[in-house]
Structures are given as structure tokens and as C-alpha cells.
């Protein structure tokens, strides 16, 4: 359910940037969503469709990049992908890991006209 507040935030931020650049419409919004960012991809898509209605972003093409969750083991220094919330190194089973990617939740760029 929090996806809607996030979608509104995305649209509002984009509109703010577009109007400060004297644009009349937003043609594209690209966002990064990490696999462990806490945001559900499908719910966000639905929420964005409602959030952009009756705004200058109404016809904007929204690109969502899914970012895989990757971590580095502090113990054996190997990189791996985190799957199914298993926060340990699959090589040496150490719990001492550093998350490198997967927590992203950001607006990359917008295309305005």
C-alpha cells in the first residue's frame, strides 16, 4: 500500500523539476527499483498509473529498471546475488556481508518537452 505514496512522490518530484525547466509535458520518467528496496514492482506500476492521471506526466512513458541485490562477503571477498532474503555468503556461509546493490529507489532521469 505504501507504493502509492511512493508513486505520488515520484510524479510530484518529476513535475517540480519539469516546471522549473519550463516544460509543458513529461515524456518519460526512468526509475531504479532495487530487489530489496521494500517496494513491490507490480504494485508500483499500478500506483504510478493512477498517480500520473490528470497531470503533465499523464502520457509519460515510465521505465522501471529492476536492480538485482548483490553483496560482497567480508570474509572470503566473493561477490554474490542475494536470493530469497538469505543474508549470508553462499561460499563460506559467513554472515558478515556488505550489500552493494539492491536497495535503490531513485529517479534516474526525465525527458521533458
Amino acid at each position: 500500500m505504501h507504493e502509492l505514496s511512493i508513486a505520488i512522490e515520484i510524479i510530484e518530484t518529476s513535475i517540480k523539476i519539469a516546471t522549473s525547466n519550463q516544460a509543458s509535458t513529461i515524456k518519460e520518467i526512468e526509475i531504479d527499483v532495487g530487489a530489496i528496496s521494500g517496494v513491490d514492482y507490480d504494485a508500483l506500476c499500478v500506483a504510478l498509473d493512477s498517480a500520473k492521471l490528470n497531470s503533465m506526466a499523464e502520457n509519460a512513458n515510465i521505465k522501471i529498471n529492476k536492480i538485482f541485490a548483490k553483496a560482497l562477503c567480508e570474509n572470503c571477498k566473493k561477490q554474490f546475488e542475494i536470493k530469497e532474503f538469505e543474508y549470508f555468503c553462499p561460499f563460506c556461509f559467513s554472515l558478515n556481508i556488505d550489500i552493494i546493490t539492491g536497495k535503490e529507489l531513485k529517479i534516474k532521469h526525465i525527458i521533458i518537452e
Binding site: 500500500m1 505504501h2 505514496s5 511512493i6 512522490e9 515520484i10 518530484t13 518529476s14 523539476i17 519539469a18 525547466n21 516544460a23 515524456k27 526509475i31 530489496i36 521494500g38 517496494v39 532474503f85 538469505e86 543474508y87 554472515l95 529507489l105 531513485k106 529517479i107 534516474k108 532521469h109 526525465i110 525527458i111 521533458i112 518537452e113
Partner: protein
């Protein structure tokens, strides 16, 4: 031909009307070999979606820090015992330190009424259809609350094991309340909340004889998701281990 795009539009003119003088033409500029383009422009944003909330949260954090106020964000499912735990704690600790409570619920001020009985300052926030508290709500609440220096603030979030995990309120510590009736699989099903918390209270431990729950499996599952999380087993109804919670909170105050 247009110099910029090569289209066949030979002349492009801009006519300025003076609207105050019956639309009299004040200038007529004729551009040859060019016209205005409505060009697409790409703007690199690279901005965190939660940037606005995080900024206000840091503002709150700075305020708390300056006044040496320690804040705790209490999260958990509806009915897990968040308010009951607060009641047990406030009852035992209200004479030692000044305590304030910010209550978050979708509707009603039932929780605020429960806590006001202990003679402390309570503010109720109703989120309406909202499923979580955000930093702006806390910012507004502390303006009204005006907490004393060296006090404690407890923020009881909306009962929800999903949404509040993403929204930083500017708190120092996040306490997750989970009751044993919810089942041992909850950490695996709602990992974000377990990852973002500092303490997990396993509540209603007095019901253990009546339930088929494996607490050691529950602890294992919590450790799988976040092995930094402190765990305390509590029953506020039967007053079991409340002193352990007080010790944990005192530890954080001294720091």
C-alpha cells in the same frame, strides 16, 4: 530551408500583440531560415524517491540530538501488543524520566486515552487512509509536544508489518513488537521490518503452553533475516521480563 532541422518551413514569424490596446500589433519579427523547435530535453535527476521524507527525518533527528531526547519508533502488526508494552514501560518508568508518546493510528484516539491515564503527554495522529507515519507528521507533532530536554519520546506507528519499514521518522531506535500468536514464519514473510529494527520483542510469551509455536525456530528465522537484532521475550499481561526491556532502553539512554 530551416538551418537546424532541414524542414521546408521557409519563414517563421513571431507577432507580438499588446493585449491592453485592443490587440494592436506592436512588433512583427520575421525570421528567415530558422524556426523555433519544441525540443525534447533529457534531465538527469538521480534523486532518491524518499529524499523529501529522509530530509525531514534528519531535521527531526537533529532536534532530538540537540535536546538529548532519545526516540523510539514502535512498529508491529495490529494487536501485537505495542500499546500494552508502552503501558507496562510507562507505568514503571514515568517517575524516573519524562516520557512523551506520539500515537499513530488510522482512526480514533483510543490508544492515546489508554496512555493518558498514566499522566503523561500523549499526541494522537490519525493517518486516515494512510498506512504509515511519515517524518512530516512527527515534525508537526513535536512542534505541538515541545518536549523537555533529556526526555524520552515513544512513537507508536500504525499497526502494519510492511509499510512503516521504509519511512524514517528521525528516531534513534526502532523496536519491533511481534506476538507469538502471529507464527514463526513472520520474519521470512516480512523481512524489511526485521531488517530495519534494532530490537525485536516477542510478546505474549505467557501463552506458550496453549500454542503450537516453536520459539527457537522463530529466533532462527529472525537471525536469518537480521542477525544484529536484539531479541527479548516478554509478557506484559503477566509482567514477565519487562525489566529486560527497561534494561535495554536504559542501555541506549546511557549511550
Amino acid at each position: 530551408m530551416c538551418d537546424s532541422c532541414g524542414c521546408s518551413n521557409e519563414h517563421y514569424s513571431i507577432i507580438n500583440f499588446d493585449q491592453t490596446k485592443n490587440n494592436q500589433i506592436i512588433s512583427h519579427i520575421l525570421y528567415e531560415n530558422m524556426h523555433l523547435h519544441h525540443e525534447e530535453k533529457r534531465i538527469e535527476v538521480e534523486q532518491d524517491v524518499l529524499y523529501k521524507n529522509n530530509l525531514i527525518a534528519q531535521k527531526n533527528r537533529g532536534y532530538f540530538d540537540a535536546k538529548n531526547v532519545i526516540t523510539f519508533n514502535i512498529v508491529g502488526s495490529p494487536g501485537s501488543g505495542k500499546t500494552s508494552i508502552l503501558e507496562s514501560f510507562v507505568n514503571k518508568y514515568k517517575d524516573i524520566k519524562k516520557i512523551y508518546v506520539i500515537e499513530g493510528d488510522q482512526h480514533s484516539n483510543l490508544d492515546a486515552e489508554r496512555l493518558k491515564k498514566y499522566g503523561i503527554n500523549v499526541i494522537q495522529i490519525n493517518t486516515g487512509t494512510g498506512c504509515h507515519l511519515n517524518a512530516q507528521m512527527i515534525y508537526d507533532a513535536i512542534k505541538e509536544l515541545k518536549p523537555d530536554d533529556n526526555s524520552l519520546i515513544f512513537i507508536e506507528n500504525v499497526g502494519n508489518l510492511v509499510c512503516p519499514s521504509l519511512f524514517d521518522l528521525g528516531e534513534n531506535y526502532r523496536i519491533l513488537v511481534l506476538s507469538i500468536t502471529e507464527g514463526e514464519d513472520k520474519p521470512l514473510k516480512y523481512p524489511y521490518m526485521f531488517q530495519s529494527s534494532h530490537l525485536c520483542i516477542i510478546n505474549k510469551i505467557d501463552l506458550l503452553p496453549y500454542l503450537e509455536i516453536d520459539v527457537s525456530l522463530l529466533r532462527d528465522n529472525i537471525n536469518k533475516v537480521n542477525h544484529h537484532l536484539d531479541i527479548i521475550e516478554i509478557s506484559c499481561k503477566k509482567d514477565i521480563n519487562i525489566d529486560l526491556l527497561i534494561k535495554w532502553i536504559e542501555n541506549k539512554i546511557v549511550k
